[in-house]
Symmetry: C2
């Protein structure tokens, strides 16, 4: 009685997952988090109109949703200054990155990213047999010149850049990305992850012709729009490239309720502006809380702040563990020197009160551990 | 200025999609369907408790859902007589089939299915470079002996069987599948699609040890539970095989609202029983309507009925087109001799009133076309 016979690639894949959910940690600890500041969710929530629209749509859930997402693509294309044919929708950027990698990368193909950048992109590249080449951040910013140079050197089919960046919160002006495009090696596509773009200063989004075949940009309703649990993201790219997603995507995968929700959310610019404003306030508050205990923070164009714990990765990890033990869910970058920081989501005032209460204890505990160890 | 460089497999893939959505047809026709009887959705809808739960969950949509789906796996495993580790969840059976194929099939690997069976399974096999081997139905039932013989002949890694069957509505007693398992060639996995199992007679679901590595079974909330638009399906299989899905799946892809909804739906057995009863009545009504116009219907263990149009595929296609033109959304099998039938979903009485009104006109129109052509 034998069972599955896995292809070599599958057999080789690690069983690690990109992220552990906070619920998994809560169950392991036997207690709920007091403040959920680790996944860059927007605790300010979605537009009330989006909530209403989802509640209204619940009774219609017996129907599959429109697999061509006609209404939503029309609404998005009007905002993005492109045609509906430039847009593909999916259950979040994660799924779109997976299909983008699948469309371009086969075993042994080269892909370039920054060391410490989004792990789920790496997960997909590894999952489809690609070879990852990583260049270091430079002064906590993704190093565009190094990314381009490495892409040319290894003949990369795909290069990943997030702008604004996760996990550091740093960003490049859009003009720098526009000029980078012209230096992209032939046959290399730029995957531009703009998950946090709603929080960034004016001019951070590059002006790119949607018909430019050298770039595909990714957007989401999980961050600024406060709808992470709804699972809606989209990608904008050249017609033929976008059409190629139809060869591999799960055509009926979109939740009907989620689509109704994001359509309504798109109409509520006032809500989005308010969320951006409250998020900026929360970032300042995090800087103040950190500063009160002698820690500095990095400038951020996102809904999170990298708090520099001032020592090495082991120390920052001890601070993180101490925060988690005390009920504050946070995450941190995975590689040095970024891992001197912990990453704190710009949450609601109540959540940040908990952070303010717990951080001094966590720092003391980490110092104790560190000095004792 | 070049763009994407596609791997050979991707470049070769057809641009056809498995199904066209009714909304796409509505836009092409410039009118809405009067009766939605083509996608085997349950117009009886989900449990009111599920609707309530989804409405309650809408305000919490700012949070990602638990990527390990702890609560839902516990609830499902209790019902399936297995452990939570035997279960993997995803956005419907389509996505699970895709990942199942990805885990087993690489370029040139053999896969066996029935000619005319679920096109989306074939889409995934082709998409990952597998070679499809098809055996004909036998008397409108999937031919288990022929599937097994072909699997042995081509050294298949995967063989697909839906029970009850889509598109014919036929079924095998569970005991026949239990005995088939023992004749499955070494190293071949049976993908058992039980999307319609809630509608089937007692004894249709085989008794299979969840730790049996030779089979993986697929279930969904899209049919009996009336939640197609929520996108929740699950697969049950041996621990290691299920764990392998973690190597490739999109870990944060589940909608938080949908998970809340199906948890509530699972508690409402009374609703499910009522839906099954109403669906059986609707099947009888479809048989009566068809019989009134000299057409026979096939026995069905699903929420749809294959109506035998009594002539060849071209004629059934003409009937289908005439129904669609008159506002009745239906679909039909893709290959002979199954394509003498059209497939009509067991809808609500109002929907079937429309069918009763329109069918004679559609038949007359098809006869006219057919005789004139």
């Amino acid at each position: 009685m034998t069972g599955p016979r896995y292809p070599d690639l599958i057999a080789r894949l690690p069983e690690t997952v990109p992220f552990v959910g906070p619920e998994v940690q809560e169950r392991a600890m036997g207690q709920l988090f007091r403040a959920r500041l680790g996944a860059n969710e927007s605790a300010f929530g979605p537009s009330p109109f989006a909530i209403d629209a989802m509640q209204d749509a619940a009774a219609d859930v017996w129907m599959y949703s429109d697999p061509s997402s006609f209404d939503l693509k029309n609404a998005l294309s009007a905002r993005m200054g492109c045609t509906p044919e430039n847009i593909v929708l999916a259950d979040g950027i994660d799924g779109l990155l997976g299909n983008c990698v699948r469309l371009l990368v086969t075993e042994g193909d080269a892909v370039v990213t920054s060391d410490g950048a989004y792990p789920t992109f790496n997960y997909h590249v590894t999952g489809f047999g690609g070879t990852l080449h990583k260049v270091p951040y430079r002064d906590d910013v993704e190093d565009i010149d190094a990314l381009l140079a490495r892409a040319a050197e290894v003949d990369a089919k795909l290069v990943y850049l997030s702008n604004p960046d996760n996990p550091m919160g740093s960003w490049h002006p859009g003009a720098r990305i526009e000029s980078a495009l012209n230096r992209l090696p032939d046959g290399c596509v730029l995957a531009l992850d703009e998950a946090y773009i709603e929080f960034a200063p004016e001019g951070t989004a590059p002006r790119i012709d949607p018909q430019d075949p050298r770039v595909i940009r990714f957007r989401t309703f999980s961050k600024g729009y406060g709808m992470a649990g709804a699972r809606v993201g989209y990608a904008v790219g050249e017609w033929n490239f976008i059409k190629a997603f139809d060869k591999v995507r799960n055509h009926f995968a979109m939740s009907r309720i989620s689509q109704a929700g994001v359509l309504a959310a798109l109409e509520d610019d006032l809500w989005l502006r308010e969320v951006v404003r409250k998020t900026a306030e929360a970032r300042e508050r995090i800087a103040t809380i950190a500063g009160d205990h002698g820690l500095s923070t990095l400038p951020s164009a996102t809904n999170f702040v990298a708090v520099d714990c001032g020592r090495d990765g082991a120390f920052a990890r001890a601070v993180l563990d101490a925060l988690i033990t005390r009920g504050v869910f946070v995450r941190m970058p995975g590689v040095a020197p970024l891992d001197r920081c912990i990453r704190v989501t710009a949450g609601k005032p109540d959540d940040l009160d908990v952070l303010a209460e717990v951080l001094p204890e966590a720092l003391a505990a980490a110092q104790g551990t560190s000095e004792g160890g």
